[in-house]
Symmetry: C2
């Protein structure tokens, strides 16, 4: 461990490694990148010397030379209120990082509050050459980001219904509506007839998909939604929507929420109103956050495997960046997880 004796902060350079191994810097580079032609003996000697000195190629130098930084951007849009986004993004990041880490890639995380800020950030990241690509979340209708990123020449993937014909490939589970359909079927089988939906922000694409699935599933059973209330995913709106529903003359016997966080708010609101969840009113969430199973009653929800989708998105993006990765689309579809927050329709 003579490493310890080195003056801290002084990083060794390729030159020193080359000197230590008695070769040229080119040889060192070749040894590390498995290019060129080196005898197994010298290759080993070089790697040993590098290990001894604790050397790794300087990322900025390599990035400058190769025009590739080996890091990807994830920009998280965090509107006014936090609700719902957090655990979702944690899962997503877990999935992404799982693919990046073993390949030596880094994830550059940014939080923004709005449209202009997000776009400006992409411009800057591209102009500065800070990242090789970006993961776009929360596909919106009339989403300007794909075009922007295309113009910037920055590889990207968008999370949403699969569609590889688009400017920017989309990664996600197929049959996005399936989970909601299953949820409605589950409720209908329990005898529910007055079913309401508390949706997310209208501009998000998945809001439309889920809402349509909800309405279609009811229509096929010859029913109409009790109500469909849009929210901005904030606690205030989630609580407000729930209160409005529960205050109705003939209140719904079941409420489906566009995400788990709102469902939790809904459960709290119902309980505060003196109702027993599952017995008086059934609640269904969406996302299958761990949180859902801590509660009493445990939340019936739709699992959409955010983590696996994130991993698939990362692989797709890496592949777009020229990395040798097989880009396996995420298999399966959103699935209902029946727990305790749903029960037979009252009365």
């Amino acid at each position: 461990m003579n490493v310890t004796s080195e003056r801290p902060g002084r990083r060794p350079t390729i030159k020193e490694v080359a000197a230590a191994a008695g070769v040229s810097t080119a040889a060192v580079s070749q040894a590390f990148n498995n290019k060129g032609r080196l005898s197994e003996a010298t290759r080993r000697r070089i790697l040993d010397a590098a290990l001894e000195l604790g050397w790794s190629p300087s990322a900025p130098a390599a990035a400058l030379r190769n025009a590739r930084t080996r890091s990807l951007a994830l920009v998280v849009r965090r509107p006014t209120d936090v609700l719902g986004s957090d655990p979702h993004f944690s899962e997503l990041i877990t999935g992404i990082e799982g693919e990046l880490a073993p390949r030596g890639y880094g994830l550059l995380l940014h939080l923004v509050s709005g449209d202009r800020e997000e776009n400006g950030l992409y411009e800057r990241l591209a102009a500065e050459g800070r990242v090789d690509g970006a993961v776009l979340t929360d596909a919106r209708d009339d989403d300007g980001r794909p075009a922007l990123l295309a113009r910037l020449g920055l590889p990207a993937v968008l999370l949403g219904s699969p569609d590889d014909t688009a400017v920017v490939p989309r990664v996600g589970l197929r049959e996005q509506g399936a989970g909601i359909s299953e949820a409605v079927a589950h409720l209908l089988a329990l005898g529910h007839r007055r079913v309401a939906y508390v949706s997310g922000p209208p501009e998000l694409q998945h809001t439309r998909v889920r809402r349509a699935a909800f309405e279609d599933a009811l229509r096929e059973a010859g029913l109409r939604p009790f109500a469909v209330l849009p929210t901005d995913f904030s606690e205030r709106r989630a609580v407000g929507a729930t209160e409005a529903l529960l205050d109705a003359a003939e209140r719904p016997t079941a409420i489906v929420y566009a995400n788990d966080s709102m469902a939790v708010c809904g459960i709290g609101t119902a309980q505060r109103a003196g109702l027993a969840v599952a017995r008086d009113v059934s609640v269904v969430g969406y996302d299958n956050l761990p949180l859902g199973s801590w509660l009493h009653p445990r939340l019936t929800t739709v699992d959409q495997q955010v983590q696996r989708v994130g991993a698939a998105a990362a692989r797709m993006l890496l592949s777009l960046c020229g990395e040798p990765v097989e880009e396996s689309a995420p298999t399966g579809r959103p699935r209902l997880v029946v727990r305790e927050s749903t029960g037979p329709a009252p009365g």
Copy 2:
């Protein structure tokens, strides 16, 4: 907008800007860094040309030249089970990013599962010169990271009880135990005498601090803890500890948890056991996650302002990296937030 006509992906370089402005590349650099001596006229001409071409200095090139990347690392250790860490880190990241973004810094986020992996990662980040510094979370007893980072010459701050004499400065609220003391006082005032504590992993430093505060506060009232049960912050252990406590012959009338996530699990467990939280058993959490106020009953908890601490840590670290930032220590101390999960001791 002749920018649109450019071939995508072809980033302009400083040379082109220099040519466009009719000056040397050195002048362009000086204009952007406010160094050297340039007339106001040429400076403006250069900035205009850069804007026109959409140029920003290449981050890798600048990093190579200056030995500073303008990005910081946050390594999140994510053990077996996720519980508790997620929302906490979301808050932390929010606080950090709020300071980094306006200064053009980036946050490189990594997830690791263990000790060796975390240390190896720091070695690599330092060796590759990928970051200028790192934020260390979850101070542990016998924590090897400060020494490691010092050896690597990588500036760092550690979240925990303030202590700027240490190898690596620590940033956090003062009087870390105050929140727990307040919680115990609150419970005692409500008439509770059998109070239990469900703690976090023993190796974490805050576990010891909070536990000591808990025991001290009870001792001052001439009482002893009903029990102190350690956990690993997992749902399983949180539920298990709660069940053990509630199964006891003379069960505790109040339980204090080392974080909100476990408290939520505890509430669920108590309810499942047929108990009414606040009436039959009081519950106190720690962290003041948004989640706590969605529940019914709303969670009484300790606010430790993770976001503000994160911001302070970021400022401290930026300052260590040579950035002109005033490093204001986070003011205040952990405070009890009384909501609905605590009530008078039963009968």
